[in-house]
């Protein structure tokens, strides 16, 4: 019995050993990137950009995360990386406070830490690669809406809820931009959809019948855009009432190709991953320091820094011409 088990052990060890290629110390800089969950198409598209940056910079990129969004696993992965002695850790925090304990530990161990997509506590990282400021999103949405309607006429908004803080903030920036630049446009209604596509559709239907002069519906929560598009399509108003808003390419592709939805606004996730890696490497090489005002990231050019936020800059507009290049 003992013999059998020892044989099994040896076999197992040999099997495992055959999986291990040369363990010779890699002299490459190691950047570890932690998404909220690694199966999420959004983060996979971030990784595409990160891989590109890693190749250009000649570094080793580790990309690992929970298979589901799990704050405890994120901590364990960071702790794992600390004892592996990686040079840089870039995190999209699932839970702000929870991850920060592990990140502070990493900093204490001499590892450079930055966050992207979702920030941790500010003392637990050097920089946050900020994919979009509320101001940038608000202005981007309003400018695109104006472009689609030749800066005149009535439009309505669908929001997730009237109280959610990010929604409120975006809405304020949209209204500020409207007041400042587009006097001929008029916001006639703002309706909540509770982050539900069905609700968005019924709200949009109600908006269409109550406002016959409506030229555009802008939805600023991701289920809102396809919901509004479905309502416009069913009302037979395709092309007459434009639909646009903040959302994910995949859930809107159908409507974009059918000509119901004109544009989807978000950020370029590939660029986000690319910028995060460049910033991480620059941190490790001491080329990016506190107080810097700008940062140059390879082929993407120069980005501005506000405080400790590296700004990805203007939102990205997905439309018929480019939406098929994105899969998330």
């Amino acid at each position: 019995m003992k013999k059998i088990l020892l044989h099994l052990c040896t076999a197992g060890a040999v099997l495992l050993a055959s999986l291990v290629t040369a363990t010779a110390a890699d002299s490459k800089l190691v950047v570890a990137m932690l998404p909220k969950s690694k199966g999420n198409a959004y983060f996979i598209s971030c990784k595409v950009g990160a891989d590109k940056a890693a190749k250009e910079l000649g570094i080793q990129l580790l990309f690992d995360g929970p298979t589901d969004s799990n704050a405890a696993k994120q901590n364990e992965i960071v702790e794992n990386w600390i004892t592996l002695g990686v040079d840089v850790i870039a995190v999209a925090a699932e839970n702000k406070e929870g991850i920060s304990t592990a990140l502070r530990k990493a900093q204490k161990a001499g590892i450079k830490v930055l966050t992207f997509d979702a920030d941790a506590m500010t003392d637990a990282r050097s920089f946050f690669v900020n994919q979009a400021t509320p101001e940038g999103i608000g202005q981007g949405l309003m400018d695109e809406a104006a472009r689609l309607t030749n800066s005149e006429g009535e439009f309505a908004m669908i929001v997730a809820s009237l109280t959610a803080s990010n929604q409120r903030e975006w809405q304020q920036h949209i209204e500020a931009r409207l007041k400042e630049k587009y006097p001929k446009m008029k916001l006639v209604a703002v309706r909540p959809c509770d982050d539900l596509k069905d609700k968005a559709q019924s709200e949009a239907t109600a908006l269409l019948s109550a406002n016959p002069k409506l030229k555009l519906i802008m939805a600023i929560c991701s289920p809102g855009v396809p919901g509004a598009a479905e309502a416009v399509k069913q009302a037979g108003l395709t092309g007459k009432v434009k639909v646009m808003g903040l959302g994910l390419p995949n859930e809107n592709k159908r409507y974009v190709h059918a000509g119901v939805t004109d544009s989807i606004i978000l950020w370029n996730t590939g660029d986000l991953g690319y910028l995060a890696i460049y910033a991480g490497v620059a941190l490790a090489k001491d080329e990016l320091k506190k107080g810097a005002k700008t940062f140059k990231a390879g082929s993407l050019g120069t980005f501005s820094i506000a405080g400790d936020n590296i700004l990805l800059g203007k939102p990205f507009i997905f439309n018929k011409a480019n939406i098929d290049q994105f899969d998330f």
Binding site: A13, A25, A71, A72, N75, E97, G98
Partner: protein, 350 residues
């Protein structure tokens, strides 16, 4: 089964060396050595990193405490031929209750922790009363409370509130070291000692095994079956609450998703440790070895350069934990099958 470790004659020694727990110990040592040699490197700053560092060993210990506690809670339960699927959810619920009592209730940490332990035991009591008074199967009862406890945790926090900003003195329990070991390891060892004594050195433990072998037999033998069963489920609730507090201290946050899926890891560790899922046999030291074997495997894999390059530490650990469990189960029934085979061929027919 569960031969007492004081056996003296040579045949017993052989039996001892080939017992399931010993085999598991060999596996654990093999695993450890393998990762020590394959998972330790020097990084570009010339620092030794990876599996062979003391920090790493402490991390392994720290990460095993919560699942280890749940496995300890489950060992007596499974020995009685029961199961408790609700302890992972209960960990989440207790973490939330603890956070709420401290943050919203304005209680001090020790008082909140004490109350949480009481509530954990109470929740275990719900399982216990449904199982003993109504004689419902533990699998069904705890499947129900599995959803119930998690649902409560989510309802209390609306799935959104996270309790944080715990004082440093509390975080010390989960993140610092005390007397050389991660602080929570002392709690873990204390509970292990307690459960070990209960299962192996008291009449309670004998009653658990008897109930596991045959509940009817135990009843006819005059054992207070309902009371003994109630004890194991209440104890499981209490230990889940301890795990919840440690979990909260380690992460510095209490959130409704705490401990999701932990019950399955714990069951894996218990079964790997040689406790029969049909009840009647099992040991606490086996469970500890099971916990260690899984923790070392999981943590060691993440140090292997090839796994790192594939970015597949979590998938590999799931895959190999499963393989390890199946291998161990196969190895443990192999002697029986072999001896049956031998009997058939060499011994005269009965």
């Amino acid at each position: 089964m569960s031969v007492s470790p004081g056996t003296k004659n040579p045949r017993d020694w052989k039996a001892l060396l080939t017992r399931h727990e010993m085999l598991l110990l060999y596996v654990l040592i093999a695993e450890w050595l393998f990762f020590y040699f394959a998972g330790t490197t020097t990084n570009r700053r010339g620092v030794v990193v990876g599996f062979g560092t003391l920090d790493r060993q402490f991390d392994i210990l720290r990460h095993s405490c919560e699942i280890g506690l749940l496995a300890l809670a489950l060992t007596p339960v499974i020995i009685t031929a029961g199961i408790d699927l609700s302890i992972g959810s209960l960990l989440g619920l207790c973490a939330i209750l603890f956070g709420k009592l401290w943050h919203d209730g304005g209680l001090t940490i020790p008082v909140a922790a004490g109350l949480t332990l009481a509530l954990g035991a109470l929740a275990g009591g719900i399982n216990a009363s449904l199982i003993t008074a109504l004689r419902l199967p533990p699998l069904i009862v705890t499947l129900g409370t599995y959803s119930l406890f998690r649902g409560l945790a989510e309802a209390i926090t609306h799935g959104a509130i996270t309790y944080t900003d715990f004082p440093a003195s509390f975080l010390f329990v989960g993140q610092e070291r005390w007397l050389g070991l991660p602080t929570q390891a002392w709690v873990f060892l204390g509970v292990a000692l307690g459960v070990g004594l209960l299962v192996h050195r008291t009449t309670f433990g004998r009653a658990f095994r008897t109930i596991g072998f045959s509940p009817e037999g135990a009843r006819y033998a005059g054992l207070p079956v309902a009371r003994r069963l109630a004890l194991v489920y209440v104890l499981a609730g209490l230990i889940a609450a301890i795990a919840a507090i440690i979990y909260t201290a380690r992460l510095g946050q209490a959130k409704a998703d705490a401990g999701t899926g932990y019950e399955l890891f714990a069951i894996t560790a218990v079964v790997l440790g040689g406790t029969s899922i049909f009840g009647g046999t099992g040991s606490v030291h086996g469970t500890l070895l099971g916990v260690a074997a899984i923790a070392v495997l999981k943590n060691g894999l993440a140090c292997l350069p090839v796994v790192m390059r594939m970015n597949a530490a979590e998938e590999m650990s799931g895959l190999l934990t499963g393989a390890l469990l199946l291998l161990a189960l196969t190895a443990s029934v192999l002697p029986k099958i072999l001896s049956r085979f031998r009997t058939r061929h060499h011994a005269p027919a009965l």
